[in-house]
Amino acid sequence: MALKPLEIYKLLPKKNCKECGEQTCLSFAMKLAQGKADPASCPYLDSEAKAALSSQTGAPIAKITIGMGSRMITIGEETVFYRHDKTFYHEPAIIYRVVDTAPAEEITALAARIREEKITRIGIDLQVNGLAVDLGSGSLKQSVTAVTTANEGGDIPLVLQSEDPEILKACLAVCGNYNPLICAATEHNYRELCDLAKKYDAPLVVRAPDVEKIGALSKECMGLGIKKIVLDITGADSGEYLSRATLVRSLALTRTAPELGFPILLDCSGSVPDNIVTGIVKFASVLITPQLPVAEMTTALVLRQNIYTDPQKPIQMTPGLYRIGDPGPDSPVFMTVNFSLTFFTLQGYLEAARVPCFLLIVETEGMSVLTSVAAGKLNESVVAEWITKTSLADEVNEKKLIIPGYASPLSGRIEDATGWKVVVGPRDAADIGRFLTEEWK
């Protein structure tokens, strides 16, 4: 069970020397309890205290990286069971799988797809993260060629899928310095694979038929000095995965089984795309899938973005005056809320309308139009406040403000409070183009 700050404090040297970077031993203890500090930062811990603290503090689920450079994947470090308890931190990596018997052009094309394909939502680029090479051909030469092709550029994180130490050894000779995920150690090969993982300091997947055996194997690997472990708990179908993932996550978070305190891998090759959804909402950190059609890919990326958004703070825009195109003193002025989703949706349609304009974003604590009207966060005084703060009146000749259709109940009050003429725009931003040509001026 997790230690409380005071229990941790008792184990510290109480020198208050600040060498750990904290003002006092007590604040260091608080950080440790939250999993936000490393016991190694205190140089004065005796070895007994160090051992006790290392197993009881730090993130209950290890942080692990795969690949290098700008596309490097970070997983793990999760601290809660439900996203509403705080937030989930590191999105699961979606990894496309390719077989090593595929022609080189196909592998190159897939790597290029992973490199280039993206969808942009609320100003954030969403992408598939890496490439898994299934080294199942049985031919060493073929495997090495495929991995060499996949690793061209060195930027796309790789997963090497094989249980054969010889094949992995040869492939790691090609890409081992790029921090690939070795997949997977089993009870038969784990000694050799631990050696390889150590040699390249690369993360290692452990795989066994059930959670008990996965835990036992993970313990063995830990005993051999491996610290970067990923647990393959796939199971026969999404139902079995779900039960296993729930068990592993619970035991990891309560520190009941430190050998399960590692990120989870779900291989979706068997049951796409249902498993992807299950994995995204329930605790997977690595999802290996066949190459997805655009529709499925988009769905997975958006669901992932939803689930990994911090529930306490919606993604927000800084309130203020924004310009679309190059507006002048006679350009229209639109008003909206500071919820990012609202802004980016609106911005897309305003740009498409090709009419340069001003966009005034007022502070509504990141709530959408309807929500902020319902909650009273969007009101005449907020609008008046931001018209003043941005000196909007100095920008345009005519004091005329277009408000969202859903904010129409506020139009009279906004006119009274600001002295601006209010025009109620359409409800759906998709109608803005039509509104500008047909109704504006």
């Binding site: 439900y82 996203r83 509403h84 496309y96 799988r97 390719v98 077989v99 595929a102 897939l110 939502r121 299934d134 008990e212 835990g215 036992a216 026969a236 179908d237 999404s238 139902g239 079995e240 779900l242 039960s243 729930t246 068990l247 619970s250 035991l251 009941t256 089984a257 399960l260 090759s269 068997g270 049951s271 796409v272 795309p273 249902d274 498993n275 959804v277 299950t278 995204i280 909402v281 329930k282 066949p290 190459q291 997805l292 059609p293 529709a295 499925e296 988009t298 769905t299 997975a300 958006v302 669901l303 973005q305 939803n306 689930i307 958004t309 529930p311 989703l341 897309g348 959408s368 998709a430």
Partner: protein, 316 residues
């Protein structure tokens, strides 16, 4: 070492029976008991498998374009639509959305009764009805529905905090189940259940609709609210222990679908993923509109609960 889940639960989900067979005083070929779960959804294959409802309407004017485009040809009325749904898609229930009542000043209440009767006659499955959304016509609409479906143990929706009396009265008078909808908030869901209970509706006649925001446009709030409701119920909060319904209809009108070159594909994907995630969060009934969603959703739910593994061709 034997790993055991570190938590136990004291509460369980209320059971609700929907539909009525001949023996039960109705005319349905089947009735279902939903709820009764005593653990997190699908944990160790426990609990009940969610029901799949295919939704139709009596006026397609406000139906999502992508669904209208996917409608089979030759369907001109709700009865033949429902029959098509039952035969071809094999859902567990039908939901009839009385979209005709959304027109300003709608008052053709006689045809509401006729529509409900014709749909009941055309199908053998339990029926969920989504009635009006306007307090001015609620009372008439719900009474017609309640009456037309007497004995069938319909599921009547939707009760909301500021307009629940009409639907509650109809459900009480004609022995139906009621859907209680609140805008994505645990406390509001709890309050509405308490209000409904005060009108005399027993707990085993209430289904919670926590409102399903569109994927990409608020679904994360829905997902967490559903998890919180389920968690509260398992912890022993009886006011939140009713089974939940999820209808990802908002997911069918999002920008991603409207602006796509292959809207149908993305609509099915969007609707299915939202429904699957809702099921994992605890929904007992999943309502979908796109005919293409029903079968893949069925496969997904089977994979969560029955252990059937779907064969897929390797896209690599």
């Amino acid at each position: 070492m034997n790993y055991i889940l570190p938590h136990t639960w004291s509460g369980s989900i209320q059971t609700v029976t929907i539909g009525a067979t001949k023996q039960e005083g109705g005319t349905r070929s089947v009735s279902y008991e939903i709820g009764g779960d005593t653990d997190l959804p699908f944990m160790n294959r426990s609990g009940k498998k969610p029901l799949l409802a295919y939704e139709i309407c009596d006026d397609t004017a406000i139906w999502p374009q992508v669904v209208r485009d996917a409608m089979p040809k030759g369907i001109s009325d709700p009865a033949s639509w429902a029959a098509y749904g039952e035969k071809t898609l094999k859902p567990d229930c039908i939901r009839l959305n009385l979209t005709s009542t959304r027109k300003p000043n709608s008052s053709d209440f006689a045809s509401i009764s006729a529509t409900v009767q014709s749909v009941l006659a055309a199908t053998t499955l339990p029926l969920i009805i989504e009635g009006s959304a306007d307090p001015a016509v609620d009372s008439e609409v719900y009474i017609r529905c309640g009456e037309a479906g007497q004995g069938e143990r319909l599921v009547l929706g939707t009760a909301e905090a500021d307009r629940y009396r009409s639907v509650a009265a109809a459900a009480m008078a004609y022995d139906h189940i009621i859907i209680a909808q609140t805008p994505i908030d645990v406390n509001l869901a709890k309050q509405l259940n308490i209000l409904l209970r005060e009108t005399g509706i027993p707990d085993n006649r209430i289904i919670i609709d926590p409102y399903t925001g569109a994927l990409g446009y608020g679904f994360e709030y829905t997902y967490s609210t559903m998890e919180r409701i389920r968690f509260a119920a398992l912890k022993g909060d009886d006011d939140l222990a009713m089974p939940m319904i999820s209808a990802p209809a908002d997911s069918l009108t999002v920008k991603e679908i409207r602006e796509s070159d292959s809207p149908s594909e993305i609509a099915v994907s969007w609707e299915r993923a939202t429904a699957v995630a809702s099921a994992i969060a605890g929904a007992a009934i999943l309502v979908v509109r796109h005919p293409g969603t029903v079968l893949p959703l069925r496969t997904a739910i089977d994979a969560l609960w029955e252990g059937s593994r779907r064969e897929v061709s390797d896209g690599a």
